[in-house]
Chain length 194, copies 2
């Protein structure tokens, strides 16, 4: 997605070979117009997939998901990150390991909002090691829902998550695939789109 | 706002005289079409206020804020809730007391994203005791930004927050003001809009 690539080049911040900071338009400050374009792009890629609901995770997945949900005409459910879980009988839960923080934390979705009749589009802002996406897939499976695919705003293609998901035959649609952050420079796997 | 009142009556869940659960369209599952209407309503109420940025708080403030930001043509910044803060030199922080959880937790916004040239619209999903709104006002003040007002999706008018803010001469625009939840029934302060 060209406008996204351009935004990453212009406003993304390469902190190391591993870390791309995009908190000026996606993770902390949000660019609503870009979110609308991102939502429309996700919607167009899954327009024929009979999506009934979007499943995402707080907080940075919410903005692109709501914009996609608006176009597809479906509700959005966001999984909550918890530090610990006590009452779980009404929740689907999954453990998500964070390589950055080196800790495992649960995520949770109320059982009221996903059923075995749902066909889900899972959306997240980043795909790196794929742990959050695997947690959301786990929750979908517990609910007996089918998953049409996963929409990712920015995939770090040099990390394992994309392969992990595609090896499971999960359809992954990443709007920008970053191949490398070496030498402080963003290189896209799909090349520079024109 | 009539469509919001209708949604609250139809899908809100009165758990007690104090607690209105709206997690089927605002807090956990999100109705994107309603969020768009809410965003448009906020934008229209602040259209002449020269807003430069919207400040909200994760997670449930994000969806209405992004929709308002889209119409007003301004970025959204969401404060992050933290369990504890270590590195704070690049952050504006404030403590927010939760009456529900009976604990105080910090919220934080990067200093990069709010300046003394900003004119802010603060948006949140709920106004009850006003502690989150006061925390956001505190952060705005630290940044030297001016605040045009606070947009609230649902105000629990029988709790203190609204008065607390209005006594400080802060403009508060609540799209639905719940006067009472007694007898399992939602009564609006503004009456039933027709």
């Amino acid at each position: 997605m060209k406008s996204l690539q351009e935004k990453i080049i212009k406003d993304g911040n390469v902190l190391s070979d591993q870390v791309l900071k995009v908190d000026s338009f996606l993770n902390h400050q949000i660019d609503p117009k870009l979110m609308k374009e991102i939502g429309e792009e996700f919607a167009s890629r899954f327009t024929n997939d009979k999506i009934t609901k979007i499943l995402t995770i707080e907080s940075s997945g919410i903005a692109p998901s709501v914009m996609a949900g608006l176009v597809l005409g479906v509700p959005v459910v966001f999984a909550r990150k918890r530090k610990s879980l006590t009452l779980t009988q009404d929740l689907y839960t999954a453990d998500v390991y964070s390589f950055t923080k080196q800790e495992t934390n649960p995520i949770a979705v109320s059982k009221s909002f996903i059923t075995n009749e749902d066909r889900l589009l899972i959306i997240d802002d980043f795909l790196a090691n794929g742990q959050a996406a695997l947690g959301l897939l786990d929750i979908a499976e517990q609910a007996g829902a089918s998953v049409a695919g996963i929409g990712i705003v920015i995939e770090k293609a040099f990390q394992d998550g994309g392969n992990l998901l595609r090896e499971k035959n999960v359809r992954v649609e990443s709007l920008a695939r970053v191949q490398s952050l070496e030498n402080g420079k963003v290189t896209f796997a799909e090349g520079a789109l024109v």
